[in-house]
C-alpha cells in the first residue's frame, strides 16, 4: 500500500514519542485498541494549573497510519484546553492525513485516546 506523504513524515519523524509517569496527578493516560486487532495507542497528556495541555506523548503499536494519527494528535492537543482538545474529531485526523477508508479506524482510535486521556486526568482531580 502506498502511503501519503504526511503519514510518511509522521511515521519517519514521529513527534512526541515517549511516556510520562502515569501516577503523576497532572498526567492523564489513554490506552485504546487491542493487540489482537493490531493496534494499541497510548496517549498521555500533561495538564498545567491553567487547565491547558502543555505537553503530550504517545506510544503506538500499529500500522503506519496508526502511528501517524497518534503523532499528529500529540501536536494538535498541545496548548489546547481540555474542552478544545475534545473537539478534535476522527474526521479531522483522517482528512489531515488523507487516510484511505481501510485506515479510518486509526483516526477513530486516536480520537478515543484523547477522550480517554482527558477522562483519566479528570478522575484524578
Amino acid at each position: 500500500m502506498a502511503y501519503n506523504d504526511k503519514v510518511l513524515d509522521h511515521y519517519e519523524n514521529p513527534r512526541n514519542v515517549g511516556s510520562f509517569d502515569k501516577n503523576d496527578d497532572n498526567v492523564g493516560t489513554g490506552m485504546v485498541g487491542a493487540p489482537a486487532c493490531g493496534d494499541v495507542m497510548k496517549l498521555q497528556i500533561k495538564v498545567g494549573d491553567d487547565g491547558v495541555i502543555n505537553d503530550a506523548k504517545f506510544k503506538t503499536f500499529g500500522c503506519g497510519s496508526a502511528i501517524a494519527s497518534s503523532s499528529l494528535v500529540t501536536e494538535w492537543i498541545k496548548g489546547k484546553s481540555l474542552d478544545d482538545a475534545l473537539t478534535i474529531k476522527n474526521k479531522d485526523i483522517a482528512e489531515e492525513l488523507a487516510l484511505p477508508p481501510v485506515k479510518i479506524h486509526c483516526s477513530v482510535l486516536a480520537e478515543d485516546a484523547i477522550k480517554q486521556a482527558i477522562t483519566d486526568y479528570k478522575k484524578k482531580q
Binding site: Y3, Y11, G33, A36, C37, G38, K42, G62, P101
Partner: protein, 403 residues
C-alpha cells in the same frame, strides 16, 4: 547492491534470464499455433510444446501424456478439485483438506460445499504440519478426494506427501496436491509419493506468470469433468490455444530447476540460516513460525513481538517482503495460516515473511538483517506493548477493548 531488495520469492520469482532467452523467438518468428497441423508454423510450435511437456513431466517423474497445461496453480487447483468432485459425485461427496491451504483450494472446496459436498478441513499442528492420525480418522466411505499442499506459501512448511499418498492409495481415494511452492524447489515424484493430481505454477520457480500445469495420473486413471469448454485441447480437460512461448519458458524452468536444485538449495538454505541467526542473535522476543526442518530452504516467517507487521514493512521500505498482518484488508484479520498454527492474533500481526530465492545474495541478507534489527528496535521504543513487557506487565491480564 541494488535497492530495493527483493525478498518475496514465495509471492513470485523473476523469470530466469536463461528461460527468457529461450522464450523470445516463440513470440515473433515462431508464432504458430501448435494445433495448426497443416503447416510448418504449427509443426514447429507443436514440437516445442512436446518438448516442454516432457521437461515438466521429467521434473516430477510423470509421463508427458499426464501433463495438462494451464494458466497457473489457481486454475490447476480448480480443475483438479471441481473436476474430480463433479465426475465422482455419485460415488461419494466427501473431500478432505487442510485449514492452511491456499485460497485456490479452500474456496474451490467452499464452492463444492454449496453444491452439497461435505468438506473436512483438518487442523494442522503447531509446526504447521498435518497430523496423519487425524487424516486417517477423517476418511469415510464417501471420501473421494484428499487435497493437501506440498509446501505452504506463508510459512514454507513441507507436508509429508509420500505418507499422505500412501494412505490415500490404500483407500482408493484420489490425492491432489497443490505443489505451487514445492515443484522445482525440492524433489517431488508423483509415483513414489502416490500423487494422482498435482498443481504447478510457473512463476514460483523462475518461469513466467500466467502459465502452469496440472498433472493427472493415467494409471490408475483419474477421471475428471472439465470446468471449461472449447476446442478440446489438453485431452478436453483444458480447452484453449496453448501459449507456446510461456510453455517453452515453463519447460526450460523445469529443466533448470532439476539441474540446479541441489546447488540452489544448498546456497539458499545457507543464506536463510545466516539471516535467521543474524536476526535471532540480535533481537529478543522473536519467533520463527512453522517447522524449521520440514521447510522450504528459502522461507523464513518471523513474528517480531510487540511490533506491528505493517509498520515494520514501512520501516524497511528498501526490502520487499510481505506481512502476516492483513491490516490493510477491511477485515483486520491476521493471517489464517498463522492462526491455524495456534499463533495468537497479536503475534500474527507482528509477522513478516522473508522469501529468499535463486538470485538472493549474502550482501542482501546482511543488509536486510541490519535493517530489520534497527527498525524493530526503533519501533519497540515506540511500542506501548514493549514498554509494558519491560515493566513486567502481562498483556493477557489487561482487558482490551473489543475490535
Amino acid at each position: 547492491m541494488k535497492l530495493p531488495i527483493y525478498m518475496d520469492n514465495q509471492a513470485t520469482t523473476p523469470v530466469d534470464p536463461r528461460v527468457l532467452e529461450l522464450m523470445i523467438p516463440w513470440f515473433t518468428e515462431k508464432f504458430g499455433n501448435p494445433a495448426s497441423s497443416s503447416h510448418s508454423f504449427g509443426w514447429e510450435a507443436d514440437t516445442a510444446v512436446k518438448k516442454a511437456r516432457k521437461q515438466v513431466a521429467d521434473l516430477i517423474g510423470a509421463d508427458p501424456k499426464e501433463i495438462i497445461f494451464t494458466s497457473g496453480a489457481t486454475e490447476s487447483d480448480n480443475i483438479a478439485i471441481l473436476g474430480v468432485a463433479n465426475f465422482h459425485k455419485e460415488r461419494g461427496n466427501h473431500i478432505i483438506t487442510l485449514v492452511s491451504e491456499h485460497k485456490a483450494v479452500l474456496d474451490s472446496c467452499r464452492f463444492l460445499e454449496s453444491e452439497g459436498f461435505d468438506v473436512t478441513y483438518l487442523p494442522v499442528q503447531d509446526n504447521g504440519l498435518i497430523d496423519l492420525d487425524l487424516l486417517v480418522n477423517a476418511f469415510t466411505d464417501k471420501t473421494i478426494l484428499v487435497t493437501v499442499m506440498a509446501a505452504n506459501n506463508e510459512i514454507g512448511v513441507i507436508q509429508p506427501l509420500a505418507q499422505i499418498g500412501a494412505l490415500c492409495r490404500e483407500r482408493k481415494v484420489y490425492f491432489h496436491t497443490d505443489a505451487a511452492q514445492g515443484v522445482g524447489k525440492y524433489p517431488i515424484d508423483v509415483n513414489k509419493m502416490n500423487i494422482d493430481l498435482l498443481s504447478i505454477s510457473g512463476h514460483k520457480f523462475y518461469a513466467p506468470k500466467g502459465v502452469g500445469a496440472l498433472y493427472v495420473r493415467r494409471r490408475p486413471r483419474v477421471r475428471l469433468k472439465p470446468v471449461m469448454f472449447g476446442g478440446g485441447h489438453e485431452r478436453g480437460i483444458r480447452s484453449g490455444t496453448l501459449p507456446t512461448p510461456l510453455l517453452v519458458g515453463l519447460g526450460a524452468a523445469c529443466e533448470i530447476a532439476a539441474q540446479d536444485m541441489e546447488s540452489d538449495n544448498r546456497r539458499i538454505l545457507a543464506l536463510r540460516e545466516r539471516m535467521r541467526q543474524g536476526i535471532l542473535g540480535q533481537l529478543s522476543d522473536v519467533v520463527v513460525n512453522g517447522d524449521l526442518e520440514q521447510r522450504l530452504a528459502g522461507n523464513l516467517n518471523i513474528s517480531f513481538n510487540y511490533v506491528e507487521g505493517e509498520s515494520l514493512m514501512m520501516a524497511i521500505k528498501d526490502v520487499a517482503v510481505s506481512s502476516g498482518s492483513a491490516c490493510t484488508s477491511a477485515s483486520l484479520e491476521p493471517s489464517y495460516v498463522l492462526r491455524a498454527l495456534g499463533v495468537n492474533e497479536e503475534m500474527a500481526h507482528t509477522s513478516i515473511r522473508f522469501g529468499l530465492g535463486r538470485f538472493s545474495t549474502e550482501e542482501e541478507v546482511d543488509f536486510v538483517v541490519k535493517t530489520i534489527v534497527k527498525a524493530v528496535n526503533k519501533l519497540r521504543e515506540m511500542s506501548p506493548l514493549w514498554e509494558m513487557a519491560q515493566e513486567g506487565i502481562n498483556m493477557d491480564d489487561i482487558e482490551w477493548a473489543a475490535h
